[in-house]
Amino acid sequence: MYLIGNITLYLGIAIAAYAIIANIIGIKKQNNKWIESARGGVLSLVFVSLLASFLLLYLLGSSQFQFEYVAAYTSLNLPMVYKLTAFWAGNAGSLLLWTVLLCIYAGILVYSKEKRNPLMPYVSIILLLNILFFFTVMVIGGNPFAMTEVVPADGKGLNPMLQHPGMVLHPITLYLGYVGLAVPFAFAIGALILKRVDAEWIKLTRRWTITAWLFLTLGNIIGGWWAYLELGWGGYWAWDPVENASFLPWLTASAFLHSVMIQERKGMLKTWNISLIILSYILTLFGTFLVRSGVLTSVHAFGSGPLGTYFLIFMAFMMLLSIYIVTTRYQLIKKDSIPIETYFSKESSFLLNNLILVTGAFAVFWGSMYPLISEAVTGTKINVGPPYFNSVMAPILLLLILLMAVCPLIAWQKATVERFMKNAIWPLIAGIVSAIILILMGVKGAFAIIGLASTVFMFATHVQEFVQGTRARMKATKENVLKAVYKLTRKNQRRYGGYIVHIGIAIIAIGVIASHAYSEEVLKTVETGENIKIGNYDLTFNGLTEVTKNGNGIVAADLEIVYKGKDAGSIHPEKIFYANWEEPSTEVAIKTNFTEDLYVVLSSWENRDKVTLQVKVNPFVTWIWIGGIIMVIGTAFALIGGKPTSTRVTDPLRQGR
């Protein structure tokens, strides 16, 4: 097994190097046989990386503790699903996961219907460079098939916090997003090398980019959900450096998805789009560097080691390569485009959207790196935690919401204020009315009310877009409502998919604003029969129970819930003491309804009849998960049927929404 595992890694290096050389010779000699051979090389890489992955899964599943990785992350009593998910619990395994996904993506690409496209050998080279790097890094610094000196009787086991369904989904989805961004990056660089800087590469990679974005979205949402259920501090986003590192490419990729529409339509922003996709790709490497370098403290980090240096070198190499290619092709990119007729147009609003998203990315990057910068410059480390990010990002995200509210109402090329006002009036009234209702209901907090009202404005704009479109279709075709909605959305899946994503964002925004501004918390020591009052809840403590399950000791508090004067069942926050893990884990008990979560943590106890409980009421947190699901549905809708907008550089007078 040891031999097979290591051979797959060395073979990976050899095949990737060969495929790069074969592609280069093929391009130089204009010889298709070499290109075909390189394509075969990529297929071999898929096979080799899959073999390595299945081998690691087998070793993990069969508890072969003679392997360092298996001994470090699994144990005999670990359930099979977590033995297998330990694949990506550590550094070496996560590198293999990245590699196998990269190989599969490269394989799909080079055997796609575009395989004869002259761009493909260049794209293949860029992806192969990444694959070569990852195989090399595994061999020199993160080998999942390294052996232990002494075979232990049992492994160390998996951190209890990682024994959660989130562990199955979160890393995979996030990595699918990270790796996916390498594809549009490779196309962009390939197009530049080949001097084909029209919108072709964007059209070819549209689905890849949306897919990567979808997985990044899903990965971040699942990560938040997992943190909320498992970590016990009552939040879902801690602005931890590694969380930020996954948010950064999401922000820049979101900007890219919007600005490509301008290039497709008007041939504008070519340099900007290329820069954005390069930045997004570099940021995925930056995230990987952060996790593995240990330069910043994070719960997600794999610890310090030489791997961070390798990633830094590779990141610098790819960045310099990209900058060199962009600068040498700059005059070519600076091609004529359709000019903007007026400042008040969808084009301008998309530019603003890009500006805000990139500013957001800059703010998150700046805040994440400031502790390092301050230490390097002044010698004193200054912390930058959630209160900083909340204060800085709140106005930036509010601007983004407002822009999302008005952007669908602004026409392409040349919008008129009268028409805009006519379309904006009802959503605007909805926003203002919601603010008045909140104030009348006694809701406090000016900033939160402004945020919620802006979100309602944004939500109403998008609902109005659906309503107006359906009405227009019903009028023109005499279809019934359902058919009209169906046809309307099917005919323009990209646009309406985007609107569904925006609606999802509105719902998430309500959850985020409400849970930040209006959460309540009580820390109280109670004896049996005593109760805790918080919000609309009345909790009565009935005593502490202790059981043993799968060799682990479980201490649970029994609490009866009365919600708005009515019996609402019981809740059992737990503390688990593991047989083979030093730290006990806290199992949060959550009672969810549509508008709020009761979140109870068993903090400590003196005896069976006296405990300290941390109780929170988090309003509208469920909306965040619902909004996330809507976002994913909207993205999938745009992905499945959306067609790229044709390049309309031949008709400068075309206008209207």
Binding site: S337, E341, Y370, T586, V601
Partner: protein, 157 residues
């Protein structure tokens, strides 16, 4: 009567400070305000029941508040001990301007760049409209010419 008043005043004098200083609990607003701002040596986001460092901070802050210190004084005592690293955010005075101001400076710079670019693109649009338009005999001729221009452009650059 006057003896009673003096006695009552004396009792109040002894009782009042104790009454006010013993009023703080973990659920007090003052306590929450202080705790929210402390980094607690990187343990601020840890779950309280399993983090001994966080528990220690909770006890200390409560003790300080109950001994009569104000929120500001409690925070300052930590800053005196650990420097600005005691808090979760950079200072809001002059020393923290760069940390707080940079994102907004970035936004302002971005707005200036976008505004200048828009002005340029719009201006170019006006110029283009004034320049004589090339008229093609047919669409085919136009396509061929555009292809030739593109080829030349690629060779040139």
């Amino acid at each position: 009567m006057s003896k009673r008043i003096v006695l009552a005043a004396l009792i109040l004098l002894f009782v009042l400070p104790n009454a006010s200083s013993a009023a703080f609990t973990e659920n007090s607003e003052e306590f929450q305000n202080v705790i929210k701002q402390l980094d607690m040596q990187g343990h601020a986001e840890d779950e309280l029941s399993s983090c001994s460092v966080k528990q220690l901070y909770y006890e200390e802050v409560l003790e300080m508040l109950n001994s009569g210190m104000s929120e500001k004084e409690v925070l300052q005592s930590y800053i005196d001990e650990y420097g600005q690293a005691a808090l979760r955010t950079p200072a809001t005075d002059k020393s923290g301007w760069i940390a707080w101001g940079m994102p907004f400076a970035g936004l302002a710079g971005g707005i200036a760049i976008v505004a200048a670019w828009l002005k340029k693109v719009k201006g170019k649009g006006t110029n283009n409209q004034n320049s004589p338009q090339v008229k093609w005999e047919s669409e085919a001729e136009k396509e061929i010419a555009e292809q030739m221009f593109e080829e030349e452009r690629r060779k040139h650059f």
